[in-house]
Amino acid sequence: MRIKLGKKVWCTVVSLLVLLAVWEAAVLVGSFPEVLFPSPISVWNAFWQLWTDGLSGSSSRVVLGVHILVSLKRFAAGYASSVVTAVAAGLLLGWFSRVFSYVNPIVQLIRPVAPVAWMPFIVLWFGIGDAPAVAIIFLAGFFPVLLSTVAAVEHMEPVYRKVARNFGLSQAQTLYKVVFPAAFPQIMNSLRLALGTAWIFLVSGEMVGAQSGLGFLIMDAKNCLRSDALLATMITIGVIGLLLDWGIRRLEKFVL
């Protein structure tokens, strides 16, 4: 186990070092204008500047840490509300499968529409600020979790249902004592996938109307023509996504 972990760390370090080396070499050999293709060093400097002073030349001089916190708060609100409603609705719809056969066509109709397409309506209904980001994250997480919860309930071992009926468990008892725990491993899996998707959509959610957050910072860096700060923010988003995924994997291992 320890050897395996050591090897994983080693692979990660090597792959990142090679990436940095190739990137630096490309900058040195190509001699592109700095604005089009910033070097690793200038991205690091931009990161440090964002972290300590905020983006120079921007209207709001908020440091990176605050942007991250604001984003994480919106993310937590959107993801938590999405997951709770999707799991609850999924359990009920999976259990009352006759109702689901009526609901399913509507879900299938809405699901392929990109969450961002809702943006004009979201802004009209909820205004700007935190709401659009939270709503987009909600939409991004909702359908995958809903559908896999329904599928998990429908594919539950038939004998569990028989046992619950035979022992005289009420509908409510059956749902929370049998159906939910039986479906839990698949639900947990869908929660992990939804976490990644929802984090991807955070940036789109914050690109409209928000005055803070990582998505806003992306737009802000673009407007200031600061490609180094842009890349620094992108990397930050990537790293946080990675950490979130690692965290939920640990949680998954812990609870299962």
Binding site: F167, G168, K177, A182
Partner: protein, 256 residues
Amino acid sequence: MYICVEDVSVNYQQGGSTFEALKDVSLSIERGEFICLLGPSGCGKSTLLNLLAGFEKPARGRVFIGERQVTAPSPKYLTIFQNYGLFPWRSVLHNVELGLEAKKMNRKERRQRALKYLEMVGLVQAKDKKPCQLSGGMQQRVAIARALAAEPEILFMDEPFGALDAITRMKLQDDILRICKDEGKTIVFVTHDIEEAVFLADRIVVMEANPGSVQGIVKVEMPHERDRTSDDFIVIRDKVFAMMHLKKEKTVEYYI
């Protein structure tokens, strides 16, 4: 008469044609009897058990237990399944407590009752284990303890030892016989194993397929301490073999 099956028929639709799983089956069972339903696959023995347990409804005919017609499963009549139907997310003890939770019994009483029946099946020391940590035979013992803890009047057993190896199976046969005579339960036991039926039953209901029906009933007049190698045992086994047309018709000639 305690359990009464009156001219029951069950049909299944199979790709346009109708399959007669049971045709005009009648049967009566006394309180405290151990009945084995014996027959080849497709003879409707499991279907008959599901009818008695209330999991299925007959196309024609009626099933009575006591004075009441059976229309749905009830905790008074519990079924033991071949694949145990234990909940893998619960410990052995919590599995046994399942039926008591439905009865709204308080925690302390529940625990006491569960431990009593775990003791009866010899698994108190495994109470904190998960079902997946136990062998098949032990898991079936847990399922038996879970059923007994709910104190049903009747146990329906659907090939409960079918997935176990021969030696474990014989041990469990001894146990179930002892426990059920001590507890005074009525048992209907589905099997396709002739020796098992002769060893356990007060009466063996021999069934045949196409259409599923009762071929005959063999009364097993032996004390409950049965010896699998005794002459009586072999005589009754022969009777069952003959009824199932499994005996070679021609006589064997011996040359000395």
